[in-house]
């Protein structure tokens, strides 16, 4: 495999699909990077589980207000038009289908849209947070992920082996190699890096990649 996208580039690609004015929840960690790459002229409104709509960037060090944090417990600032609310309202926004997009990380995604991203098995302390709610609430549930694990095993699989976060919930994947939709219980390839062949991409994917029309080149700027 010659090249792959960096995390920043995966985040950039995911950001291109977020419309101006969209209400968006970004998962803790890697997905938070998506906020940095909003296309010029578009402004999404970011939701955090702990009760803020319209939060902005981190404040300068030393100016944190620890009553104004995101779901990752990091200090944030407010954009004009922000709002506070309690946790039940926050998850009413989630479960009630009011969010346009949720972007999450993944351990495994299956071709039927099942997602595993909260537990790597019975060892350690289990923790779920808001992930199980988010996958059933947003109108679009997208995953950003490396295409394969550190050991080179597919993260896109026929059926998940790890404990599920949600059943049939993922609609689009942005990986380090491709953009893939989940439709009718299958991975449908939409874009791939021009430098990778279809055969190689398939060999790194744990279930069949269907084609439905032309596959576009996945072109992302150096970041």
């Amino acid at each position: 495999m010659s090249e792959k996208l960096s995390n920043a580039q995966i985040a950039w690609r995911a950001a291109q699909d977020i419309a101006d004015g969209a209400y968006v929840n970004l998962g803790i960690g890697f997905p938070e990077m998506v906020a940095q790459y909003q296309p010029p002229g578009r402004q999404a409104i970011f939701h955090t589980e702990n009760g803020i709509l319209g939060f902005g960037e981190a404040p300068p060090q030393g100016e944190e207000d620890w009553d104004m944090i995101n779901a990752g417990k990091k200090a944030v600032t407010l954009n004009p038009g922000a709002a506070f609310f309690h946790h039940a309202d926050s998850f009413a926004m989630v479960r009630g289908g009011h969010l346009d997009v949720a972007i999450l990380g993944a351990y495994e995604v299956a071709e039927n849209g099942d997602l595993a991203n909260w537990s790597t098995g019975p060892k350690g302390v289990p923790a779920v947070g808001g992930a199980m709610d988010l996958v059933h609430g947003a109108k679009r549930v997208a995953v950003i992920t490396e295409h394969v694990t550190k050991d080179g095993k597919p993260k896109l699989v026929k059926r998940c082996t790890l404990p599920l976060t949600g059943v049939g919930c993922v609609t689009r994947l942005y990986t380090s190699l491709a953009v893939i939709d989940i439709e009718g219980g299958h991975f449908v390839l939409r874009e791939k890096l021009p430098s990778i062949s279809l055969e190689t991409l398939q060999s790194l994917t744990g279930a069949e990649l269907k084609l439905d029309g032309p596959v576009a080149d996945l072109i992302v700027p150096e970041l």
Binding site: I69, A88, A127, G130
Partner: protein, 245 residues
């Protein structure tokens, strides 16, 4: 009517052994640190309360607040969504030693269970968790072609709440995202104990801005300069002070 209490000790004096206690906050934001520490002081002096069941989003961070309560051995069971933090060692060690029970609940389900408890709704259906380990053993029903999990209300004997401004009737406002679980827990407990940064005379809070109406509140104590868990942890604080585990 006057729900104010002069001291934190007085406010937490009646919490019995074995009580279920909701503690507001999301991480350190909105966590009633001084009320929690008053509970630890009482335990240090009298050996009570112990065998508590705590309900919080998290499992504490460092060695203050919720983590300190767990570290003192006062907690039998924790109901939460995310028992991880920057420094989760106190909970993790007790959990791995089998000294504390964990009931893991998805965050939105936790919030709604508490809201339902306060609203007198014994059960509700949510899509959250369907087909996962966290729905095992729970009733499933289909509505309009989609599967939903039945979840039960969650109530508690006591709620410990951090508010910004309170009045003697127990009307409360909150500060920014410190609101989080606090208004829900205030509704869901038989006895709701509030620490407020400022207590003002009745009529001084604009009724338009009240977030928690006083009907949900039993006691209010003023804590003028409340500690922030994050600030304490960055300073390496422990409670009780000076104690080294």
């Amino acid at each position: 009517m006057d729900k104010t209490r002069a001291t934190l000790a007085e406010a937490v004096a009646d919490i019995p052994d074995g009580a279920s206690v909701m503690i507001g906050g999301f991480g350190g934001s909105g966590a009633p640190i001084e009320l929690i520490h008053a509970l630890i002081d009482r335990f240090a002096a009298t050996g009570s309360p112990k065998n508590l069941t705590l309900i919080n989003n998290n499992a504490g961070n460092g060695h203050v607040g919720l983590a300190a309560l767990i570290e003192q051995g006062m907690v039998r069971k924790l109901i939460c969504s995310f028992p991880r933090s920057a420094d989760p060692r106190v909970f993790t060690q007790k959990y791995q030693a089998g000294e504390i029970e964990l009931e893991l609940v998805p965050q939105g389900t936790l919030a709604e269970r508490i809201r339902a408890g306060g609203a007198g709704i014994p059960a509700f259906y949510t899509p959250t968790g369907f087909g996962t380990l966290l729905a095992e053993g729970k009733a499933i029903e289909t509505f309009e072609g989609r599967s939903y999990v039945r979840e039960r209300w969650l109530k508690a004997d006591v709620a410990l709440i951090k508010a910004d401004v309170a009045d003697p009737y127990g009307n409360l406002t909150y500060r920014m995202a410190a609101r989080n679980f606090n208004p829900l827990m205030a509704m869901a407990a038989a006895t709701t104990i509030v620490q407020a940064r400022r207590i003002v005379a009745a009529g001084e809070i604009d009724p338009e801005t009240v977030i928690t109406p006083g009907i949900f509140v039993q006691y209010v104590v003023e804590v003028a300069n409340p500690a922030q868990e994050e600030v304490l942890n960055r300073a390496g604080a422990r409670y009780p002070e000076g104690e080294v585990a």
